[in-house]
Amino acid sequence: MVGEDVLYQSVAEQGKLIRARKLSPVELAEAALARLEKLGPKLGAVATLTRERAMEEARAAEKEIAAGRSRGPLHGIPWGAKDLLATRGIPTTWGAPPFKDQVFDYDATVTRKLREAGAVLVAKLAMIELAGGGGYNNGNASLQGASHCPFNLEHWAGGSSSGPGAAVPSALVGFAIGSETLGSIITPSAFSGVSGLRPTYGRVSRHGAMALSWTMDKLGPMCRCAVDCGLVLNAIAGEDEHDPTSSKMPFAWWLPNDDKKARSLAGKTFGVVRPPSPDRMDEETGAAFDAACEALKSLGAKLEPLELPDFPYGPVAVTLYSSEAASIFRPFIESGRFNELIDASQRAGLVATLSLPASDYLDAFRLRAQVQAEIAKLFEKYSAIVAPSRTGPAPPLDRNFDAPPPPRKDKPEEQRPAPAPGSGEKWNVIGMSNIAGLPAISVPCGFTREKNLPLGIQFVGDAFREDVIIECAHAYQLATDWHRKRPAL
């Protein structure tokens, strides 16, 4: 019988036990499936349980390991796929009612690579419908319903990779694969206490994943620690003949043997993007971020305040992905089936994409070239850009995202206006890094006092330097234990 303590272990720890034949992949898969059945509905984490495939893969893993043939650190580890990854013979709903019966007859490249690495697919995980491509204004915008933050079930898990956000920190799976176009890995990682890595654009093949934006979609691991992100990325990175934008750049990252060296950030310089609180960032989030920066300093890193170059990151990002989404979903929109989507603002947003002028799309691409050049200069000086993953904790499940921000704690009677468009761009790290296609990792850096909501810090790296940001996040996690907190479920 596999106990809860084992289920909460990292992939690296579980893998070690499996290879030493102290942990059976079959028993681990059975335990994960039982936990998914028990807690999945409570958390709104699951789209489909893949029991049959899981047991077949687990038995194959057990047989191979018994015969002394290990496929590496993911062999026998249960994982969950955001429900936009094609999985042969299993429904892939894209989180949207019009696609609830959609079944592909092939595996996405990522799914195939993980199968080859010996990982065991136990579930397709919930997501915001169509990854929120039309713009959504609440956490319920999903065929599977809202996903809950495991640390406080009255709050949202974050999106659009909401199921992975709920499932990973509650140990329903060993790890998950999420996707990000504009914040969909970083946000649920911050809101739910996940260590989530958004790789460089092109690092991981997008073949078989729902396309929202050909030039902005990325697939990446969502795990319980930074080391696991590196191990999973090892398995899924690489060129793919089915994705012409996939990169040849090699990636190989392994757990450092020298623990003392791994704990040191000496020689690293971070540019720190810190929105001012309380106007632009919740105060507790600001305090947790400041404490995290102190921890980085104590590890030997040099920190310098940084303001992002002046660009309209948000409008550029939205124009890029909306234009591409318009082309991708035009037949779906024009068929009238968009009316079956759950969220009204998503329906309206998708229709509105059809009238985006081509000249704006091209201008966004031209600005993108300028952004890339300017941001590249920053990495001549900085090892990484460090920022709060989000400027506040997870919102309550019933929050309308379009509503003005909630009043400040010290002035509860004062209604705050919504920030003016474009006024927060110098702190828009998610927008900047997604436009430039840069990698980022978000790791937990604290919890709010009253509501026990996770808070995150993100490290943004230079293109194809996931190794650097994983090392930084790993060093931080060796010095802190926020990532080891377990939700009371």
């Binding site: 934008t245 409008p315 603002s345 509105a352 090892s383 293109a463």
Partner: protein, 112 residues
Amino acid sequence: MKRREFAKKALGAAAAAPILLRRLPQQPAQEPAKPEPRVKLTPEQEEAVKKATENRERQLSLMRKRMLPYDLEPAFVFAARAKERKKQGGKEASSPVTVGPGGKEATRFRRP
């Protein structure tokens, strides 16, 4: 027909044309037929789409007001480019860097 005779007849025809045209039955002025909208919306949805479009226009205005250099070209095939890095954190860049003519880093655009 002599040139002078032709000119006389042509002048007469030109003078008579407006009178003759006025005698023709007048065609009612017609607007070009509007194409059937491809997406059928309820009035409520039309309002929501209008709101979404207005919101987008506000965002786009922030982008449109920037003057872009004439020679700034879009990256038609987007690629996040790796660039040569200085030694940082005691570690050399491990990723290979393509070096183009003149020692400049080659762009990493892939052929379609």
